[in-house]
Every structure is written in C-alpha cells, then in structure tokens.
Symmetry: C2
Subunit: 346 residues, 2 copies
Amino acid sequence: MRAAFFNGPRDIALGTRPDPSIQLPTDAVVRVVLACVCGSDLWFFRGETPKPPGTIGHEFIGVVEDIGTEVTGLAKGDLVIAPFVFGDGSCPHCLAGWPTNCTSGGSFGNNDIDGGQGEAVRVPFASSTLVPVPGTGHSEETLRSLTTLCDVMCTGHHAAKSAGVESGSVVAVVGDGAVGLSGVLASARLGASRIIVLSRTPERQNIARQFGATDVLAERGDEAIARIMELTNGTGVDAALECVGTGESMDTAFGVARPGALVGMVGAPHGVTVPIRTVMIRNVGLRGGVCPARRYIPELMTDVLEDRINPGIVFDFATNLEGIVDAYEAMDTRRATKSLLRVSSL
Amino acid sequence: MRAAFFNGPRDIALGTRPDPSIQLPTDAVVRVVLACVCGSDLWFFRGETPKPPGTIGHEFIGVVEDIGTEVTGLAKGDLVIAPFVFGDGSCPHCLAGWPTNCTSGGSFGNNDIDGGQGEAVRVPFASSTLVPVPGTGHSEETLRSLTTLCDVMCTGHHAAKSAGVESGSVVAVVGDGAVGLSGVLASARLGASRIIVLSRTPERQNIARQFGATDVLAERGDEAIARIMELTNGTGVDAALECVGTGESMDTAFGVARPGALVGMVGAPHGVTVPIRTVMIRNVGLRGGVCPARRYIPELMTDVLEDRINPGIVFDFATNLEGIVDAYEAMDTRRATKSLLRVSSL
C-alpha cells in the first residue's frame, strides 16, 4: 500500500509499505477514508520535537476490511472512528477512563505502527479502540466532522472539561488553531455563557464566531490579560483553555483565571513554566494533557450525527494522499487551519 | 495590651500595643483565648521569607468583647473561631467561596493588623469573618481542636478537597507536619480507603495513625515513589496531597499520582517546578493554594463538637504568651509538631 513517511525535518514523502494484515486475534485492518494533519505533527515536521523516520498520522476514519477472531462489536464493512491511541480497555488506566495511558497501548504513526496518513492501518485492540459509526450514506460534511473526533474536537472538549466548563461559565480560549477553535465549540456545547477567544487571523476569527465565541480579541500576552480582566469587571474567567503550549500562552491563561478557576491545558508544552505563585495565591489549578479521545467519541459522535455540532469546518484545506506535502506546508505556513486528506471513497 | 512581635529573623519578643477598639462599624474586638504558631510562621522566623517587623500570628479563637453597630450574627461574649484572613463576604471572590482573595480583605498579623499571638484582635468585617461556636463549657480538648480550624485543619482539608479525595480514594500524603497530619485526618473523614503518609518521626507517625493513616513510610524522594507504586500494584494513587512546598515534595506527589489524578497543593512553594511533562503525559493535575478556611469552618466545627474528629492532638507543645519564643523554637527544632499558646481563660 501507499503511505506517507517522515524522513526528517521538512522531509515528508509518499512511499510504500506492506499491506497491513491481522497479526493478533484482537486486531482489525481498516481502509482509510479520511485522514488529516495534526498541529502536533508540525512539531516533528519543523524539527522542534525529535521523531525517528517512519510512519505518520494519527487521525483517520475508515472502513473495517478484516477483523481478528477475538474482535467483538465490529464487522467488516463498518465505518469506524479511530482515536489517536489504541488501548486494551482492560488495564487499570483504561478502566479508569485514561486509555492514553494504557499499559499495553500505543499510538498510530509511531514506532512502526501504521499511520493514518496512508491507505490502511492495522489497529491493535480493535474492540476497545475503534468506535463504529451507525447509519449509512453520511455526507462529506458529516464525514469531515467525524474525522475531527479522532483527536482535535475531542482535544478541544478535553480542554473544556479539564477547565471545568459548565453551564453559565465565562471562558477564555488561548489559541485559535484547530484545537483552540474546537475548545470554543466544546465550551459552547457545554453551555458557557461567554466565550472569549484570542485570534487575529480573519478566517479563524470567523470559524470561532460560528463555533460560539462571543468575544474575539486580537491582543496577546499582557494586553490580552488586561482586556479580558476589563471585560470581566476585574474578576477574571471561570475557566481558561490553554491550547497552544508556549510559555506566553500558559501565562496568559493563568493571568486571566479568577481565584479557584482551572486552566485546561492541551497544548503540548514547549518551554512552559507553571506560575506556581498564582496557583498558591489565587488557587488557580491546572488540569489536562493528552486527551482520552476514546472516552469522548461516543457522545460527540451523537451530536455530530444529530447535527448539533459541525466541527468539520476547521478543515479549510483538502487534498489527497498525493498532496501530503502540500497538506503539511499549508498548515506550516498558516495558509490552512487544518488539512484534510481524502484517501479513499466511502 | 501585650502582644508578640517579629523584630527580624530569629527575633520574636513580647511587647505592648494599644488595646484594640472598634474603628469601623463592621469591626469586632476579640479577646484571644487560644492561639498557635503556624508552620508558615517559621518561614519569616528563619529569614526564608521577608516580612517587615510588626504583629504576628494568624490563628486564634477567643471571646467577642465589643462589636460595631453594623455587625450581625455575633454578640458580646460569643466564643468565636477566626479564619486566618478576613473578608467582606460580598465581593465576587468571597461570593464564589474564595474569601482569601477578597478584594477588601487582609490577614491577621500582617500590615499592622493585630496578630493572633497577642491578647486581643480587632477583626474587620466581623460578620463575614468570625464563626461563632455554639454551646458553652467546652473542654480544653475541644478548644484545642477548634483552634486548628483557624488554619491547619482547614488547610489539610483543602489539600484533600483540592486533590479530589472522596469515598474509596487511595491517597498519598507528602509531609508529616501539622498540615500533612491534618490532611490525613481530612482524607479519612472524606472516606479514603487507604492513606499512605511519608513520615519518619515516631511522634508524628503516631498522630498519623490516630488520624487514620493505613501505611506510614519512612522513605523519601524516589524511594518513596517506588514504594508507593509497589503498594498500589504499579498504578499510583487517586489523590496526592503536597503539604511541604519543596521541589522534592512536589516531585514525589506528581511521581505517585496515577493518570488523571490530582495533586492537592497547600505547602507554600519554595523552589518548586511543576513537572509539566507529567501533567501532559499522565493528565496529573494540580489544585490548591491558600486555604479558604472560612468556607470550611462550619462543617468541620460540627464534626469537632460532635466528637467525630479530634484534630487538636497535633498540639504537642503548649505554653502561654510569655513562652512565645519557646513556642517558635520548639517548632523550629522539630521538638514540637505544633505549638499552642494559652493566652487567656475562657
């Protein structure tokens, strides 16, 4: 089969790889229909995070082509959503709702596990990993939204849940990438009464507003903090979503959080120092991290299928597997918020 | 009146100060009955945290001697518990349950506010600050336990609440000072099924066991982490209470927390760096800080008065106001876990 490979910083290319097949009775083989590029893929693309050469891509939906003898709850021909990690569903961490810490788990597109940016994937622990999508004849719009559930929409939801967003919350979202925008949508879905997002890119501001942002601010850093404190009459926000991962974004999130609030962190931290004095003096807490997507997919999928949310509009660039380099470069140069890959037809 | 003063590092002395009187209609004047020395008082005593010369002590219970014209819910002669900060009860932070961040508030024994380590205290915002104790004729044992509600027992409770301790939780408590021990008691009160505490002082181990600790470990640092992971079959604890405030204690708390757990932090941080990678990879969160004691006093007071908890056993050294230097030195040299000051009779 054809699959995209990372050969080194700024060196992504299409290559070939043996067709995946059932190796363990708990495996499934999935033909990829839609895949995409994650903001976190840019870290290795840019050489900012080391990664050995090999398979890439951890977000894909597709059709089950084969299943092992011990797989339950799935059948050949099922349309399935893959969370970005696989887990056995039975270890203490999986049972507690943290499949990303599965003691036997792993992630797609790493360590010679098939990546989503390819034609097919062998999925370990298929029963506890894949989520089958009910119904047939889903529109392209629906399929795009379902593809966001592999990671980005679940991660935005995780930021909101980690920050304790609930009905009536006043929320600040730091970051207008696809995750930050998903955090806006997730906050709106959870009933936030006010959602302030930091964004200075017109296209992203537009998506943020469609997702429910009530205030879109172009300020950054201390100016953003001052503006948000002004907008909240000096009180600060009930929940701050940190969706970037830099020191400045973390400082901004902590700077606008009211006493007792939580910062929900999902941006992979690069050069971040937690302002411990703010934790101590203002009781601003920090939660979040790698998103347990598998836990969130069912409820968010229902909302997609019943047309209550349309997270797929974060895809503002689409190509096919041959366009994989374009897909990365469009995001790297910020021409695209998030790049979709059409790999095969449903 | 007589009151203790901080004159500089390792220089505490008894002196005189004008008798407090009502200055604002929301004030009360309280004659101090019992006071104590806080672990955090040792920071300035040792010269590790700067503090201008002046009044000291933020933990006291006493009898209302006078009230301003706008004070409600209190009467002369009432026995009252003072939380370590005062707040107006009406600002957004007070209303949200964070009186320690009151926009008009302050703390006893700072900025020329009367300290608890003296004969009497003018209490601003008395109605929203002081908690009257029902009943009369309370025993010395009860009065000691009520005195812990000014700070230390509430702070231990705050560590436990911040860490999300609930019925059935497996808890680790890092720190065997009076706050750590109170964290053990608070965890037991909240229904923890297993409470592992790090302690190597026999007297404190003994108090920990009386408070409900199921496992008392003498190990520290990486050895403590290894031992706790072993005790929890490699899973880690549901909640970790950080009751010291050093880099090592924070690392230990994060090191034993299972994925998705919370570290409840109440130790004033000195040289602490939050292990951000653990936050990201294991979703271990951090909450806590300066304790909103006023919010917790009523429920804990009920448990003291109905003999369900006896936090006063943390006082293993008692003296009077003349013994103030001894009271500090006993804690400084770890002869005492916590020093009580008998200032006047009930």
